[in-house]
Amino acid sequence: MTSQSPPNPSTRFSQASIRRRRATFFTAVLITLIAGLWLMGHSLGRHGLNGLEIAMLVVFTPLFYQLSTGFWTAIIGLAVSRKSDPLNLLNTLSDDDRRADLSASTAIIMPVYNEDVSRIFEGLRVIYQSLQQEGQLAHFDFFVLSDSDNPNKWVEEELAWLELCRQLDGFGRIFYRKRRKPINRKSGNVSDFCRRWGKRYRYMVVLDADSIMSGSLLANMVRIMEKHPAAGIIQTAPRVFGAETLFGRVMQFAHAAYGEPFMAGLNYLSMGNATFWGHNAIIRLKPFIEDCALPELPGREPFGGHILSHDFVESALMQKAGHQVWLLPVDEGSYEEGPPTLLDTLKRDRRWCQGNMQHFWLLFARGWNSLARLNFFHGILSYVASPLWFTFLVLATILAAMPGQSSLAIGQGFSPGLVLLFLTIGLLFVPKLLLLFRQLTRKDVARHFHSRRALLSSVLLDTIFFSILAPILMVFHSKFVIFTLLGKGVRWAEQRRKADGAVDWQESIVTFTGITIMAALWGLIAFWCSPTFAAWISPVLIGIALAIPFSIFTAGLPSGRRRGWFSTLEELHPPPVIGELQHHLSKAHQRSDPSPALARNYGLMQAILDPFVNALHVSLLRQRQRLTPESRDYLDRLRKRLIREGPQSLNKRELSALMYDPDVMIRLHYDLWSAPTGDLAPWWDSAIRQYNILTREPVTALYR
């Protein structure tokens, strides 16, 4: 460890108060767990446990632990979030602190990979302008760090960057970097930034392509870092906004209605040992550069190799180096978007699952503090819980099928099974009811949730929604865990963050048919075993059986918006940054699109055809080393083929090879314009004729 130990934290964060909080939390969790296990043990085997029942008890233990952890996080969070928490870092800033001018330089970085370009740069625009209004812009620089391998996105990003710089006079403050090789994906992209420019800045704010942060919060985060030199990372709890589909709006509503106390509870537990979620966070760069570079894990993917979920590990490394990692529960200023559909959620979870499973090896590594280890454990458990739940249900079915057995039987008189059932329901629903009560009794309920009636309806409907969703996620997460164990890695898929309005019926049917059949067969077996048992397990099986209609229905745009269902503060009264973003994006989407035939290779077309885009693209390329004659011949062949046969005749790798060579791109520009029509692919002929109609106004990729 090279970093010196940071100065002692303020007495406000004394170790005693931190220990007291953790002891309270874990005592409560442990008592609940013991009660649950005792009840489970008694309900299973009043006359001793057989092997199957022991297996059920073993599987039940982590599941009940997870349940009670969630319960107590919410309950404690509810208790502490009612008053101003003295251990919330934001509350440590005095009025004078908040007015003070900043003295530290901060880089706001946004690593992107084939994302919606308008959304990236319009997001940056509102953050930039918000900082400008705050009067603190001079202390921030912006970096878009692109790993996009889609040639269209690449060119679109270059253009949008130029246009944004021109519109905001942001040259020298907004920067664009495209990596030639996306080594180590997002974490490699961030490390690349740190190696090149990290020394210039004291702090770095990491954003995702769908993140938005207000200038006021950004400035305050820098002030907190300045005031607490022991803090290495401060992670905000972003609020979700911008959902359009039913699925997205329910998730967004749930986050708004129930999220805040969970965050407060997490902060209560973790204090300076919180975890980092990879975005909407500020990082002290010096220790990050010195101590948080990620090594490769031994072995190959999926368990070894490059660390996928890098943020948890970076947080643990920062703590290992003696710095603190804090969660900052905030109710405004930090925002992100969520996946629009169930299918998109599953695709994201597939990636996250493998990342979390990789952390298994880190559980046993030396040097972590206990909370960092616990964070790894909770991350793993969040996915492993699914196959455990699945196994528990299978074992329960087998138990029900055994002659003379009735799983979790509810008998006469005192019935541990019944008490356990009520306890479980209590753990699941009491926090929700308390939260609902709290939201209903707030004076500004209409401002936050449209009306009391809409809030009640939304909570009722989201209970049905999550009752169906949970078993579907259980099956898929189980599948993901098994795939990971079998060594099936994941590829780095681009994320879809907005619905395009079209519901993909075919993909839903193909994805969920298997589990629908499984649920039907399981239901028949359960009924054959015992109708009582079938009734007990039916909520789970019905949820799985409804996966296809659920996926299709929730991917649609109708979501009860007119009735006020699932409304949130950000929807009803968008804060300035979100309002501005939505305004700019609505303008962006009014512009005419190229024809579908051209749209597929529009970026490439612009980079070759348009004199200015060609010049921009070439200006941003590094001068190549002298090419070998073989490479030159290869590029010449590709160049001629591109002109004669059109872009569809080349694959992505070949197009990239051409686009990375500045000399070839200049040559292509003149080759194309000077080629007689007969020598051009029909695609280019059409492109030349249509292009000038599309660029009637000075080109603004931001508005395409």
């Binding site: 057989n50 092997g51 199957l52 297996a55 620089d141 970096f143 960057w161 710089c165 040259f171 020298g172 920067f175 664009y176 970097r177 490390s191 740190c194 190696r195 090149r196 420019w197 990290g198 210039r200 550069i289 010195e290 570079a293 990620l294 090594p295 490769e296 031994p298 072995g299 070894g304 090896w361 880190l362 046993f364 590594a365 040097g367 087998i398 099928a401 055994m402 164990l485 079998l486 060594g487 055809l609 348009d610 004199p611 200015f612 010049a615 921009l616 200006s619 941003l620 000399d663 200049i666 003149y670 314009w673 000077s674 080629a675 029509t677 030349i688 292009y691 000038n692 660029t695 000075p698």
Partner: protein, 192 residues
């Protein structure tokens, strides 16, 4: 009625070929955001005139190619007057010049000076001679070297096992099948 004199009579190439060259030049200049039709027409005719002379010397090349070549030559000469002394590599003169014209606001503010023989206004020249674009600040390199994490003894065993399974991937499935069989046997033993 007054007669007019059309000062464009190429000795080589067909009318269709020159019409195609005209259309291509029109598209090309329009792609430079030159929205004034009058100005564009002047540029096209001037370029075509020069191209027809060149084509007479190279009749095997298509008029379209010659016309665009001529337009490029005119553009390079014009740019050399404005930014020729800025140590821009010869191969990048066109691209850098086009970029400079765009960033100076040329297409919207000074379109009539594009390729014009008249001296462009000083503000335009100054704007074009600004540093072209800066996509990143000056580099300030840091060394960010990963430190090995001591994963403990379990990871050593896992690494060995992982290597073994990597060499024999079918064993992964065999192990899964064996575990499944063991579970089934356990279930059978308990329930029989």
């Amino acid at each position: 009625m007054d007669s007019i004199r059309i000062d464009f009579a190429p000795q080589t190439g067909t009318a269709d070929e020159w019409n195609e060259a005209y259309a291509r030049l029109s598209d090309y200049f329009r792609a430079h955001r030159l929205h004034s039709r009058v100005h564009r027409t002047y540029l096209i005719l001037e370029t075509l005139k020069r191209a027809s002379e060149t084509h007479a010397r190279h009749p095997n090349v298509s008029p379209t190619e010659v016309a665009i070549h001529e337009a490029r030559r005119m553009q390079r000469a014009w740019l050399r007057n404005i930014i020729g002394d800025l140590n821009i590599p010869e191969g990048r003169l066109d691209a850098s010049g086009r970029m400079a014209f765009l960033l100076s606001g040329g297409p919207s503010t000074y379109p009539e000076y594009f390729l014009a023989a008249d001296s462009p206004p000083q503000e335009m020249v100054d704007a074009m001679r600004q540093p072209i674009i800066q996509s990143g600040p000056d580099l300030a390199f840091s060394s960010m070297v990963p430190r090995p994490i001591d994963l403990g003894p379990i990871s050593d065993i896992a690494e060995d096992a992982g290597g073994f399974f990597d060499r024999h991937p079918w064993l992964r499935y065999a192990l899964l099948a064996s575990l499944s069989a063991l579970v089934l046997w356990g279930v059978y033993s308990v329930t029989r």
